[in-house]
Amino acid sequence: MNRLSWAFCLAMMLLVGSISVSHAETSTDALIQDLLNVGPEGKGNRKAAQATQALMESDASALSPLLNALNEANPLAANWIRGTFETLAARLLEEQGTLPVKSLRAFFNNMENNPAARRLAYEYLIKVKPELEKEIIPASLDDPSTDMRREAVAHLMEQAEAATDEEQKLQLYQRAMLSARSEVQVKELSEILESMGQKVDLPRHFGFLMTWHLIGPFNNENLVGFDAVYPPEEEVDLSISHQGKEGIAVWVPHQTYDDYGIVNLNEALGKFKGSAAYAFTEFTSEAAQPIEIRIGCKTAWKLWVNGELIFSREEYHRGMAMDQYRMDATFKEGKNEILLKVLQNEQDEHWAQDWEFQVRVCDVTGTAILSTTRLEPPVEDFR
């Protein structure tokens, strides 16, 4: 074979190789797109089921594209991708005893990637390189992933507990508090810091809304109030009174001093069964931005932001917790209006008397977003 023939053969081999690589990439991308296309009520499931089967038989090169896809996945697609990733990774681990550490690390290191996806990359990274945990966790105090951050805070709390120097101990606990987003950790840290003589502004840390205007009661006997449209739903004018269930109802200013921002309507307005009340507040946002509004409420409620109904929930006395309901919303720059309707039913059991709510504004990681006109100094000093 002469030189020309060799060159021709080599060129053909490279061409075939590149076509095959390109085809594999296209194929992986197309399969992943089928996973990304899933939607409500099983939409896209048929294609996704075929795609996941094919992807689970791929090689390690499919792992990075799967992780990347999590950056644009809806919550359903995210689980399809996660399930596919885990099955493929488990198979590769069993067959080859390792995973592509470099690409997993690179994906994890890029803070622009989806926090939950980065956590997934980390979990598989330490399956093959467990020694990396000691390096990564202490450096994750400000990680966008709540799981990473929780472990970093736990690590720092262990260090603080072990510290013998009181000043160093205090500094470590204060640093941990700064990063903590977990309700359990924040509670524990605030108790420790207060025992060390430090004042902790929990409402500010979490971003609870503490200052409201309230009006009520309106009628909710036989649960008619949930669908009824009372005047505050049409227009909020704090200077106007309305005909309520017990006579004329007026807007009253209300400041809660509860550490977790709980507004007790039984105390603020009076104990009215079969009633509805409205709570209104303004939030000044320093920029137009996506936010999460998180609500805890034991009874039925409806939430509007800038006049748009965000979500409504008709359930009474089944339970209440911080961040019970998480909703996406968008704030415009400047003044934003938040209106909450909170209803009470007519149950007479002792456990069915609470009429209260808590609201906070934060980002997706649970980091507080504060109104630029939030009252200062800390709320405790208003007592």
């Binding site: 499931n45 996941t52 339970g319």
Partner: protein, 419 residues
């Protein structure tokens, strides 16, 4: 109007995908809590000394769903995380308890639940080829037996108000190519028949807007591959055709929202309690007069008997060889004649019980919340407590039994009790 078509019904356990000594669903075959095997588990065991504990394995997450048994596998669900927002499905070897595989998913629904329960409360189900796992978040996952994802649904994503702040707990049932999820609460209540192959809806029916933790009960049809599924709620017990979701039969009246009904040979026994009337009622099983889908001809039934002293607490009633058995809130095991409802005998088994007992070859195995396990020999004359055993941990699940072994889980461990 759906054309009138007659169907008759018969209990055919072999139609429900029973494979040898498998235990594929909450309360086992036909949700009766009775093992299809004569081989008795050990009558005595002790968690501390390891007596008759074949193995004990540590769990990575918490939960109170029951294990199910498929071939050599023990399938279990669990949840982890401060908010219980990581959902796990695990497969263990029945032989030695070793972990075969584990898959995890992100919760898409709400995770709040009462402190006594967990997001991993509903028991998974299998058709012998696939596993279906449901959580309090209404996330529904289908895997094959090797742990490969087949499909995923987030039912709260689809139906945003379908949740209960105390937690959801209804377990799944599967028949043929339909898996049935009962998603009932105060706000958005529904039941779904979902295609096992790809997770799409075969049918969706609206259900009463009442918090409800009961689980569906299957009854196969004679001369048909189809079945009826009984869905119990606080205000009625309804039977739907599994393949179509058509209503076939209904009892309208207060039923319990915690313990679930149990099938007998001629009747279904339904716990009461929500409306203030205690005890159990017996209803005649659907007959050939029932016409699915035609509300004007749907069989509306009346109770055959009511026994107020046969109250069930959290544990569901059992049916065994003409006997109906319940454990009440005082820890008393009651036995009644299934024909008449007359109480035959009563005996103390010390509660409280969250899990439903299981019956193997005439012996009832009941494990209370303290992990104390009673073995009661059953007869129509008496219930004789043979043994009292200790596991030493809080047990809230219903055990699974197969091939002379009991499988039970706590928040920390999964046990195999066997010789």
């Amino acid at each position: 109007m759906v054309p009138a078509r007659l169907f008759s019904l018969l209990l055919i356990p072999c139609c429900l995908g029973l494979l040898g000594a498998d235990w594929l669903a909450f309360r086992g075959p036909q949700q009766q809590g009775v093992a299809p095997t004569e081989k008795l588990p050990p009558l005595t065991w002790d968690g501390a000394s390891g007596k008759n504990i074949a193995w004990k394995t540590e769990l990575t997450g918490t939960g109170l769903s029951s294990p199910i048994l498929v071939g050599d596998q023990v399938i279990l669900t669990a949840c982890t995380g401060e908010k219980q927002d990581r959902l796990h499905v695990m497969s263990y070897s029945q032989q030695d308890g070793s972990l075969q595989w584990e898959r995890s998913f992100w919760a898409t629904g709400r995770t709040l639940c009462h402190e006594k329960t967990r997001v991993a409360a509903p028991t998974p189900v299998s058709d012998g080829k696939h596993l279906f796992a449901l959580y309090s978040t209404n996330d529904l996952i289908c895997l094959d037996l090797a742990g490969n994802l087949v499909w995923f649904r987030g039912l709260t994503f689809d139906y945003p108000n379908a949740s209960n702040s105390l937690g959801m707990a209804s377990s799944l049932v599967v028949h043929g190519k339909t898996v049935i999820a009962q998603i009932e609460n105060d706000s958005q209540s529904l039941a779904l028949g979902i295609n096992t192959k790809n997770g799409t809806n075969r049918w969706v029916v609206e259900r009463p807007r009442l918090a409800n933790w009961t689980s569906p009960v299957l009854m196969p049809m004679k001369d048909s591959k189809d079945a009826l599924v009984f869905l119990q709620s606080g205000e009625k017990l309804s039977a739907y055709v599994v393949s179509s979701g058509e209503l076939a039969w209904e009892y309208q009246g207060d039923c319990s929202t915690i313990p679930s009904a149990v099938l007998g040979e001629k009747r279904i026994f339904v716990p009461l309690g929500r409306g203030g009337r205690p005890g159990i009622i017996a209803l005649p099983l659907p007959s050939s007069e029932a016409v699915p889908g035609d509300i004007s001809q749907t069989a509306f039934v009346n109770e055959e008997w009511h026994q107020a002293r046969l109250a069930a607490s959290t544990a569901s009633p059992l049916y065994y060889e003409g006997m109906v058995l319940t454990i009440n809130s005082a820890g008393v095991l009651n036995c009644a004649d299934a024909e008449t409802g007359e109480i035959i005998w009563r005996g103390r088994v010390r509660g409280p019980y969250s899990g439903t007992p299981v019956i193997v070859s005439g012996h009832l195995f009941a494990i209370n919340e303290d992990g104390e396990g009673k073995v009661v020999k059953l007869s129509k004359e008496e219930g004789e407590v043979l043994e009292t055993n200790q596991l030493g941990e809080t047990i809230l699940c219903t055990p699974a039994v197969a091939d002379g072994a009991i499988y039970v889980r706590s928040d920390q461990h999964l046990w195999k009790i066997a010789n």
